[in-house]
Point group: C2
Chain length 336, copies 2
DNA sequence: CTGAAAGCGCTTACAG
DNA sequence: CTGAAAGCGCTTACAG
């Protein structure tokens, strides 16, 4: 109802042009040598009318929306929820707001989200890329739209990214298990061509080889589109097929949770029947009767770095930043 | 680099006016009786040039941004993360995208977020209101900006809202505990003037009175801005002050989690030393050694209803919708 | 059936 | 020191 106040309203009331009002309100009155009285008057009227600039008009004119598009796998997943929170706060420090979407690890959904956000002229993207979206990322780069990948990235294309030292993390976790005396160590991961997953599996494999345990390697790769039930069935294979797995390393937060459900359902005791190392960490890990040993990611730093790199790109830098952050192995009671 | 394609580009290539292109691309060629050939040609060229409408320009012109502003307490909190996910999906069904912000239960932050999003001309707001923000909500209403509150609302002002039957939920949980034989039942809640909290406490009180247990009422109210440590200390009072509380009802997801940490730290066993009823539910509740009995909120329905009501408002309805949804008491092993 | 033109609310190069 | 004017990319009432 109450119409928004525009520059024109102020200009009319003060009796000057909108140009002058614009200069003053954007703090360029010095540079433009606007008369002191006029400046004062404009400021007064603006505040009196409670003027709020119309961002949409500004955006159309300047080409910048001060908005970041964030695409994660699923905002309901606490790992991404936490990341979103860090990104929100950091973006806000730079004067940016965040619009988000969940891709569900689906490349079609991802494409749709990217298109939608491009039409809304976001200044740049922060993307947790799904499998098969490498061309979408390339296309953004071709169109010179700033983009930073986080958590994962592609080998085939040179992009900005911020990721964990995935190889090192699972290598560390695996050799930790080996040092504690475990031999029949299995891993549960997603079947995926995405680097973060490949590296996590590779880290496990390398550690096993290093300790001459190739013969004991057992990796269960589940698909993103599997039901919880099927995932639990797959996990069960590791512990229930007569090969007596002694310890399991899980490759993500969600897989760890699924694994714990499975372990509980089958009345296995951690760590007596089976040792567990989780990934990412959350409250369920802490409250589990045997608080989990897990690989912690520096979510806060990861989110902050991602925003920093993106803002850098938006401001015109053409330096490519590829940042790998260190993990921490939190050692607790889920391994003997 | 590669310049965006505009209506004008298409118009020039086809040799018609931008008006015609606009009509055709917005599917109004029938109404405007545009020649069949021209329609075909315009469609062809648009697709060939991969035309994407500039939403910002559309928005400036039409006054609609097809964007919803979502303000929650904290997107990293799984309850709000899940809610955000439902809202995102439902909004997308209506062709809307979501921009979000976390208020941290802080009214200043909330005011800032609302201003920012207003300047970005969101078409409407979905807000989990923080304490002391009633004037912010009123101001939105005064300016005829569509808004729907969710999870909480204010008594003093008639707004759209979607909320749980908070009174009924904690009344139910409390009487369930009483029926199971518990008498010394405590409650942990936030100190807040917000209705959802008041009602949850009231439901507990009423149930206690109903069963002549006024004498056993013990409510611990913690503040939003307390550290985790202080919250745990407060909770500890309930079980450790010689009055031997037998069961605790927690008023939110986060409080339940804090409570479980506290219980574990003090080596109390659930349900033998202390019975527990939680709120909202999450994976930690399921994986706890005594899977929690808890009050489940219909998050999915809640989110969907909220979006539906908001879209309704955006489309011009001036009917106020105040929707209360039923809880479910999930009964498991955290009570005898 | 089609087009010229105005206007959404800004910013900014240009002229004086 | 100040203002008129163009233009960002659309939509739409109006005229023909």
């Amino acid at each position: 109802m109450s119409k928004r106040i525009s520059l024109k309203d102020i200009a009319e009331k003060v009796g000057v042009s909108t140009a002058l009002v614009s200069y003053v309100l954007s703090g360029r009155e010095k540079e433009k040598r606007v008369g002191a009285e006029v400046v004062k008057k404009i400021r007064e009227v603006a505040r009196e009318l409670n003027y709020q600039p119309n961002q949409i008009a500004q955006s159309l004119r300047t080409g910048y929306t001060k908005t970041i598009g964030l695409i994660v796998a699923d905002i309901a997943n606490p790992f991404f929820g936490n990341m979103a929170r860090v990104i929100e706060d950091e973006a806000s420090n730079y004067g940016y707001t965040v619009v988000f979407g969940s891709s569900d690890e689906d490349s079609d959904k991802s494409a749709l989200l990217i298109d939608t956000l491009i039409n809304r002229l976001v200044d740049g993207f922060i993307i947790v890329p799904a499998e098969g979206t490498v061309n979408q990322i390339k296309s953004l780069q071709d169109r010179r739209i700033p983009v930073v990948l986080v958590d994962r990235y592609f080998d085939e294309v040179r992009t900005n990214y911020v990721a964990l030292d995935n190889f090192g993390a699972s290598y560390h976790a695996t050799s930790y298990l080996i040092e504690r005396g475990y031999r029949k160590i299995g891993m549960v991961a997603y079947k995926s061509s995405l680097i973060h997953m490949k590296e996590r599996i590779k880290g496990y494999m390398e550690a096993m080889k290093e300790f001459k345990l190739e013969g004991e390697i057992r990796v269960e790769e589940v698909r993103y589109d599997m039901t919880k039930n099927d995932i639990e069935k797959a996990i069960l294979k590791l512990v229930d097929n007569g090969n007596n797995t002694e310890a399991i390393l899980f490759a993500t937060n969600a897989l760890t949770i699924s694994g714990l459900y499975c372990i509980n359902k089958n009345n296995l005791k951690v760590p007596d029947n089976i040792a567990v190392v989780g990934f990412d960490g959350n409250e369920a890990f802490d409250l589990f009767y045997a608080p989990l040993t897990y690989i912690e990611q520096p979510i806060s730093e990861m989110g902050k770095e991602t925003v920093r790199v993106l803002i850098d790109q938006i401001q015109g830098s053409n330096k490519i930043s590829q940042i790998t952050l260190p993990h921490t192995l939190i050692k607790r009671q889920s391994c003997l």
